[in-house]
Symmetry: C2
Subunit: 294 residues, 2 copies
């Protein structure tokens, strides 16, 4: 490694130098159709994370509403505008507890469409809203509309943070886009369905998070669901992965849990991996033209 200057030199581009901080993923059980109950559970989980010293807290995808909607009518009835009760609760929690919170919610857009969205809020209020760009299965089926904005990457008091949602993580192009904008930590609300896998194998959802972290030297925190909802079992695979691609947290599949890790996001500003290699500078952008054509 030959990039001490990158990690210890003066900060630029608004990058923070917060030192080690605690990150939490709240792996909770939620129920479709019970937004007040979901919000109460999330408030309790966020408070517990703050009590444990977390400064950055990630909640699951569609945390306010649950996921297994019968149809668009049920989704529309549950969706909220950006200034609705759910985002207001998270803003209030971020202000009271001095947190960055990244949370997924069902968004009733000004344009009449419904989006699978996430917000990043801090003690100053709303910092970013992101709409999932890669929709999963029934989400496409007359439920959600896909977003087309780039992943947000936000300078916060605790580091430079990017946001993606669930299936977005399976497109390395999209993970790279956030990383190239300087995300030190990618916060990802997810709802990972439980699928069979060979004995002894880690779920590939987690493998993809690990790979996305190491090829970009970026931390990734994914907050998943626990339990079951209308017959759908969730993986419960919340994980925080370091910039080398290794999990910092036990893989406690399925249970309701608070996943906590202490990270030094400065490590993600040092992209060097050998005396002569840098995971971003070694890219050959002029050769990647197939990716924007196909």
């Amino acid at each position: 490694m030959s990039n001490g200057a990158m990690s210890s030199g003066p900060m630029s581009n608004g990058q923070s130098s917060a030192g080690p901080i605690r990150v939490a993923c709240c792996q909770v059980s939620l129920a479709v159709g019970d937004t007040p109950g979901n919000l109460a559970r999330l408030r309790a989980a966020v408070t517990r994370a703050a009590d444990a010293g977390a400064r950055i807290v990630v909640l699951p995808e569609l945390a306010n509403t649950g996921y297994m909607f019968e149809d668009l009518a049920e989704l529309r009835a549950a969706a909220e505008p950006l200034d609705g009760a759910s985002v207001r609760q998270w803003e209030a929690l971020a202000r009271e507890l001095d947190l960055v919170i990244v949370a997924g919610f069902a968004e009733a857009g000004d344009d009449g469409l419904v989006y699978n969205s996430a917000v990043l809020v801090d003690k100053t209020g709303l910092r970013a809203r992101y709409r999932k760009a890669h929709l999963w299965d029934r989400e496409k089926d007359n439920l959600f509309s896909a977003g087309s904005d780039a992943p947000p990457v936000v300078d916060t008091a605790f580091g430079r943070i990017g946001v993606l949602i669930c299936y977005d993580l399976e497109f390395p192009e999209w993970v790279r886009s956030a990383a190239l904008e300087g995300a030190e930590l990618l916060c990802c609300p997810v709802n990972w369905p439980l699928y069979p896998r060979p004995a002894g194998e880690r779920p590939t959802e987690i493998v993809k998070v690990q790979a996305g972290a190491t090829v970009n030297r970026m931390f990734i925190a994914a907050a998943d669901r626990a339990g079951q909802e209308r017959g759908q079992d969730w993986l419960g695979g919340s994980v925080i992965v370091d910039a080398d691609g290794f999990p910092l947290t036990p893989i406690s599949l399925g249970e309701e849990t608070l996943v906590l890790a202490t990270v030094d996001l400065a490590e993600a500003r040092a992209k060097g991996i050998s005396d002569r290699n840098d995971v971003h500078a070694d890219r050959r952008p002029a050769l990647y033209t197939r990716l924007t054509q196909h």
Copy 2:
């Protein structure tokens, strides 16, 4: 899954329908400066793979020469043109044993430069030559020149096969490029140095192979080195991964071994992963413009 038609329908675009076939990675120990010895070892390993029923055989990166060159003079003395003794040996083996062989070699280019290259040969002779586009560490230091051609993807009697070399695999853009050209199996000569990792963790080189396979629904076979060379320990992490991203072979780190798996490459032509999802069709190429600009 709703893509039976993709895997059972008539073949198009020259795609093969070979049915299940055996793939082998020859994890051998090599010595820099001993090309005749290396070629003898490789011949024995390829013959053993063919005896075990393999039809596609992958050899390591720089298999003819070894890796740990002192300087450009030593490399130049060992490098061979495309029609040199090493490629001729592999062509002869492919012809005699009816194999596809993918092998790395140090190439003395017509332009006077030296490349870290690989060939794909079959019983008809040379089918493709590829020059590594992403160079690792000392390779950059007045040893090798980087290639700038896209990864080759070749229709063979045993399936549609792409070729990348070692550090290329750490650029998901490059893996995707081969997959978008229809590679069903990506054959990768590698020389993975041994690095420390947390107890119980799989090497991230293998994690990246798994992720590249699953996000593209493509098989990947990586042939690594065993042993040590001028003080450099090799990981010995050869692996064959299926289109779901799971290893089909035991991870036998470090030893000289023949890694063998039976694969049905037709599975890699079915890109669907749910009733409404397809890992390639779900991409949003118009949104990925950052990747060719940065």
